[in-house]
């Protein structure tokens, strides 16, 4: 059962990966106008030799089917092509930028999960009370404000007017002399992390509230209450663990959502991560890089989903891997 399930899961993940690979390949190669055209519009006319060399260098002179086969084989082997913009292997560029993205994505994911779950659990437990309703309304409002607007407001208030944090980038200009210092990077990361956290807390909160709400009617809660346990104790030891199970999938999917949010936040803060890289690649039509980023996003979603599935039994021993939850 377990082996069969894992096999099926792996097969579907592989299928999804191939679909996304093929889809981007087809789309990006059918696209009118290429990199050369958007960077140096008249080069092909003025200097056909240079244009030909560029095409040969990146294999664009081969037939589409040949390019596709080569791409598939190379991707599996770990060669994701070369970025037009950087002139480096796509995977190397992505790897470096991904590290910077994780610097802000990891703390904000942890923070938003902790805050969202804690406030959501409390709100759901006190369902219908004044506190619950005002927190709920507040969260609806926070969630309705787009992430790019939070990011700009944060810069405008804390960066521009109060001058507490830098306006963007990942290190000060002094880094040229003294090297990149961790404290300096943290100061630069503070606002982007806050923006990402603010924009993803309401989603976690709302689901945790709903999830906790459902446990309040359960019989084990009634039992615990009749034993004379204090409310917060029931919430902590009995309700919370059961409410957390549906959250695992949500968190996995939220990670994928955060990648999207990071495109805006990183662009606004000039944070040199995957999001800003996406924006750059889009702007100059760097096809191999775009393809690589898209594949990396797909991989992240796939792994997040598998991780969520495998962690169910750890949280709830009643669940066996492969059963429908």
């Amino acid at each position: 059962m377990k082996a069969e399930y894992l096999m099926r899961r792996a097969f579907y993940s592989f299928l999804a990966f191939m679909v996304s690979l093929t889809l981007t390949f087809v789309l990006l190669h059918l696209m009118p106008g290429d990199y050369l055209h958007s960077i140096l519009p008249y080069l092909a006319e003025k200097n056909p030799d240079a244009a030909r060399m560029f095409r040969e260098q990146f294999g664009l002179n081969r037939s589409i089917s040949e390019q596709y086969l080569l791409y598939v084989v190379n991707v599996v082997r770990g060669n994701w092509g070369y970025s037009f913009l950087y002139g480096l292997p796509v995977l190397a560029v992505i790897e470096e930028k991904l590290r910077w993205t994780l610097v802000i994505l990891f703390p904000s994911t942890v923070l938003s999960i902790l805050i969202g779950m804690a406030v959501g659990a409390y709100s759901g437990w006190r369902n219908g009370s004044k506190t619950d309703l005002s927190v709920l309304n507040f969260m609806i409002f926070v969630g309705a404000v787009p992430s790019y607007w939070w990011a700009m407001l944060l810069i405008l208030i804390f960066g521009f007017h109060l001058n507490l944090f830098p306006l963007g980038g990942y290190a000060s200009i002094e880094a040229l002399d003294v090297g990149v210092r961790i404290s300096d990077v943290l100061r630069h990361a503070a606002l982007p992390v806050t923006a990402l956290t603010i924009s993803s807390v309401p989603g976690t909160y709302y689901l945790m509230r709903n999830s906790t709400l459902q446990t309040t009617g359960e019989e084990y809660v009634l039992t615990a209450r009749s034993k004379g346990l204090r409310e917060m104790e029931i919430l902590r030891h009995h309700a919370l663990k059961n409410a957390m199970l549906p959250m695992v999938t949500v968190i996995a999917l939220e990670l994928a959502q955060m990648i999207m949010g990071s495109v805006f936040v990183e662009t606004i803060f000039s944070w040199p991560g995957l999001g800003l890289l996406t924006f750059e690649a889009l702007r100059v039509r760097d096809l191999p890089l775009l393809q690589g980023i898209f594949l990396m996003d797909t991989l992240m979603v796939i792994f997040a989903n598998i991780a969520a599935d495998l962690s169910y039994p750890l949280i709830d021993p009643r669940v066996k891997v492969g059963e429908n939850v």
């Binding site: 609806i140 409002f141 700009m152 702007r283």
Partner: protein, 274 residues
């Protein structure tokens, strides 16, 4: 604020936005694209919110921008709900092989990161607001198929459906007359939340420079103000109004959505939470 008044407030604000969008060519003092004043003028009697770096009237552009944003949000949401309701209903009603194929395809499609895909698709097709909303609708629709499908699965087993079958009603009649009305409340809630999401995404695409360059849109206004000096010079009347316009519309749709959700409670709440 109670749920009911939240719902009414949302409806009222949305109504006001729609009115502005419809009447924008009548109530704006200037054409949104005409160069009507000195660049970077502050707010004054002639230009309520001043002018941008090209000398265009910001207030007129703000009102005109309502159109693009509402079109993307509402059209995208309509398409996505149509796709998910149609496919979800057919999948659950017929079951068997049809259901298997659809469910498996959705499984694969769900793994594709939809926002990066949207970015790639938008630059592939020349970005026009109708194409963008169409893409959002189809991409987003796949996410809703599962939810509608699970709702219909329980309806197919309902007595009134068996009854209709026993009388000899055709599949199409059962689906449209008996199943659809029961799915409609859920679809409406999905529609409102989708409209909110797509509207924000549309403005976001404009901000990233992937919007339709031929229309006036808030995302492009924000990006222009942000990158062309509005931010650095502290010209709040240039940067802040489009942001507030987006935020207010988004809040209104959220209030409307949560109000509606509560309205069709409790059956819906359960099916949404699971």
């Amino acid at each position: 604020m109670s749920r009911k008044s939240a719902f009414s407030a949302g409806l009222f604000i949305l109504g006001a936005y729609i009115l502005v969008a419809l009447l924008s060519s009548v109530i704006t003092p200037y054409s949104p694209t005409a160069l009507v004043g000195r660049p970077l003028d502050g707010p004054s009697d002639t230009h309520l919110l001043g002018t941008n770096d090209l000398g265009q009237d910001i207030f007129s552009r703000l009102l005109y921008g309502t159109r693009a944003t509402l079109i993307i949000g509402l059209l995208g949401a309509l398409l996505s709900v149509l796709v998910s309701t149609l496919v979800g209903t057919v999948s659950a009603y017929y079951g068997g092989g049809v259901d298997e194929v659809i469910t498996r395809s959705v499984d694969v499609l769900m793994t594709l990161p939809s926002f990066p895909l949207l970015l790639v698709l938008t630059i592939f097709f020349a970005p026009s607001i109708f194409v963008i909303s169409g893409l959002m609708g189809v991409l987003g629709g796949t996410q809703g198929i599962r939810i509608i499908r699970s709702q219909v699965l329980s309806l197919v087993e309902a007595n009134f459906v068996y009854g209709a079958k026993a009388i000899g009603a055709g599949d199409l009649r059962i689906m449209t007359r008996h199943i659809l009305p029961n799915v409609l409340p859920l679809a409406t809630v999905k529609f409102v939340f989708a409209a909110q999401r797509y509207m924000l995404m549309g403005v976001g695409l404009g901000f990233l420079g992937l919007g339709d360059p031929s229309v006036v849109d808030w995302g492009q206004m924000i990006s222009r103000a942000y990158y062309n000096g509005g931010f650095a010079l502290g010209l709040w009347w240039w940067l802040i109004p489009p942001g507030i316009a987006v935020t207010l519309l988004s809040v209104a749709l959220a209030l409307l959505g949560y109000g509606l959700e509560e309205e069709i409670d409790p059956r819906l709440k359960r099916s949404v939470a699971i």
